[in-house]
Symmetry: C2
Subunit: 434 residues, 2 copies
């Protein structure tokens, strides 16, 4: 279809929802994307662009001039516009900003001045704010008169004379009250103001916890400067959880549309680091070369001890990282969590030691070897369990993201300790007759 | 504070938001939770209970009678009530349902008849549906007259005479239109009807994709039976992403409030499985005992080849599992994804092989050993990359959840192939002089 007949393509795409058109681009092979865009230019609304996967979009926007990008951006809500502008390279960004109306430019530049991933970058400026002493009838009248107001709002914000938010009123409540009721009597007092500098992850947690649909964003002096709505939060919640999965495995941005070279760069860094930590384990084995030479079966069994311990560590780590990310794990229940993981690790260790011990006995008929491997795997599962909770907690306490580096350290610990306990016990127990 | 002075406790807790009270319970040590609940009985609103962590709640509800649970449930929205009832054991569930009004009981029993995690279980029945030929004024009048309608709605659903949804109208739009405008002229035609049996993950993806705030749920005959709102979706998005992290590491439910025995059961199953797959790798090493006996350094180096390959596999797997979960990876771009991962794996393999080769040369001054280890790690990174994309894709194609079992198979593959390529190459290359 993509070879020539633009009209046919256009007719097929026209009835689709903007989000579906955006998805179509991600699904289409790279070389077809630009011709496709050309065939359906007037369907390429701002909404399609802003729904697009960021890598697909970046690639498409490269072929446009600053003026063309500016035309797209002028149709968008501030928060979506900011995302797109911040993805452009410096020169294109400059051109685009020049081509915008001075009002849009000022708004975008102000948003860009806030830190990355902060509330200030996510907020929209199109919101409805009313004064506390207006009546329901006044508010409805105000809404009907002002055609240029957004329709994407679910609550009106009530502000005092110095434009500080003091409450919110759901539209459903507004509609159900008699016209003479005063806003200040029916509003809910504001409990959840979001400072412009708050991190987006924190904002998302607030929305989840209090079941918010929209929230007021305030500047340093407490004045209402914007609003964040729940539909923007949904993307953040998914992205933050995705990030944790991908960081735990060192897969970088991890988007299937990311250019190969970018993925390579972020992943190879992790693999090289992993090579370094594997060296630690390797060095430990090196100390016991004599032991292995005397009983080569040890080389066969040692990866089991290290591997299962590593797995026990990853389990605990996944639980801990997510509990930290969702603010469930705090100073007050941290000791309890460590004790909990320790108890689980003890049970797991005992069970696995019995199974592995029984298996070893059946194969080798060697009591000492059975004892050594059972004891080693039990210690290593307990070590893994402890490392899985302590490593992320330590990173979190130190102020760095526990998802990024924890898994390297946990695996290094369980590998190193697995080989050390197993080969060490084999040596000192006299198993190899030394 | 928790020892005696109930009044003081009450005064401290009273000003908190229900979600904060719920969190307080999760943070408090287990033995304090019941006395705390007793001290603040009349603050224990349905909202507090429904915001609670499920394990904490389950434990608290055990001490209540069916009648007491029913009193709590009567205050809740249907979707929250269904969650709580479904968590009770069979006998308590029966008692609770008996104690409810027949109307509530019927609604809950109907919801429970839908499959677990389906739209039918998540939906609320409190919604506002209006006829297409009503005017804006009629709708506002209807809303003002019916005091028992919910205030938790953001859109009204427009239905035809047989109660099939044909469109929605945002409240913001309703407020801005003149009273005489007809609903059918200002509504948006309905694009996203949710069948009662749709899986919650699918529902969440629709909400994300189309930026929905609420959606109509319809039964088999297309009639409007309920509504799902975005605040319920937020929890699902987080839970589903969390699940994937936890499944990938075999950590079961992975909640820090889960009882130790439950966690133990789900995790130990995984560790035992892991023991089985580790045996495969171990058996492969066993074939090469002769080789290792002749050159014990091989035992020192072999975990590096297996470990780094395993890491490369996990990276690819994390990316693939998330892309599958978010519907980004489909039949049409599956071949492209495999090629993409293969190219990244080639680059990664080349880089790591150079680094490790150089290191091996510096330590051992053995050209053949250097060649063997470089070739082995490069193959294993490529194998890991392929397994990381092919294993989850195969599970997905076969209709099972790729997050659950992929990581076991990927690790087994990279471990087994890592040992096989390294020790195999060492043997056939004549490195050990055999």
């Amino acid at each position: 279809i993509e070879e020539g007949d633009n009209q046919a393509v256009y007719d097929m795409v026209a009835p689709l929802h903007p989000a579906d058109i955006a998805e179509l681009f991600a699904q289409a092979p790279v070389e077809i994307r630009r011709p496709l865009a050309a065939a359906i230019t007037d369907l390429m609304s701002g909404e399609v662009i802003s729904e697009m996967n960021e890598w697909v979009r970046e690639d498409l926007l490269k072929s446009l001039t600053g003026q063309e990008v500016a035309n797209i951006i002028a149709q968008l809500d501030l928060d979506d516009a900011v995302v797109i502008v911040s993805e452009l390279d410096a020169q294109k960004q400059q051109e685009t900003l020049q081509a915008l109306s001075s009002e849009d430019r000022a708004a975008i530049e102000r948003a860009l001045s806030f830190p990355l991933e902060s509330a200030g970058r996510m907020m929209q400026r199109n919101l409805v704010a009313v004064h506390e002493n207006m009546s329901v009838g006044d508010v409805i009248h105000y809404l009907r008169q002002n055609d240029d107001l957004t329709t994407d709002f679910w609550e009106v914000f009530v502000v005092d004379p110095s434009h500080r938010p003091i409450g919110t009123c759901k539209l459903s409540k507004l509609l159900r009250m008699p016209r003479h009721a005063l806003i200040q009597d029916i509003m809910q007092p504001e409990q959840t103001l979001i400072p412009v500098t708050m991190d987006q992850e924190e904002v998302a947690l607030r929305f989840q916890k209090y079941g918010l649909i929209s929230a007021a964003v305030v500047d340093e002096s407490g004045r209402l400067v914007g609003m964040i709505t729940v539909d923007d939060i949904i993307h953040i919640i998914r992205d933050e959880a995705d990030e944790d999965i991908l960081k735990l495995s060192g897969a970088g941005d991890g988007d299937i549309n990311e250019p190969v070279l970018d993925s390579y760069k972020s992943r190879v860094r992790w693999l090289i680091t992993n090579l370094g930590t594997a060296l630690v384990a390797s060095t430990i084995i090196g100390f016991f070369e004599g032991t292995i030479a005397r009983m080569v079966e040890l080389a066969t069994l040692m990866p089991i001890v290290a591997g299962v311990g590593g797995n026990a560590g990853s389990q605990t780590m996944a639980v801990t990282v997510r509990a930290l990310a969702t603010n469930q794990l705090t100073a007050s229940n941290c000791v309890r969590s460590i004790t909990r993981e320790l108890r689980i690790a003890l049970l797991n260790g005992l069970t696995v030691a019995c199974v592995l011990g029984a298996g070893t006995w059946l194969v080798f008929h060697n009591v000492l070897l059975t004892e050594v491997i059972a004891l080693a795997i039990m210690s290593n599962i307990i070590i893994g369990g402890l490392a899985g909770v302590l490593v992320p907690l330590t990173f979190d306490r130190a102020g760095s993201d526990p998802a990024v580096a924890s898994s390297i350290f946990v695996t290094m610990t369980t590998d190193a300790m697995g080989f050390l306990t197993f080969l060490g016990l084999a040596t000192v127990s006299g198993l190899t007759g030394a």
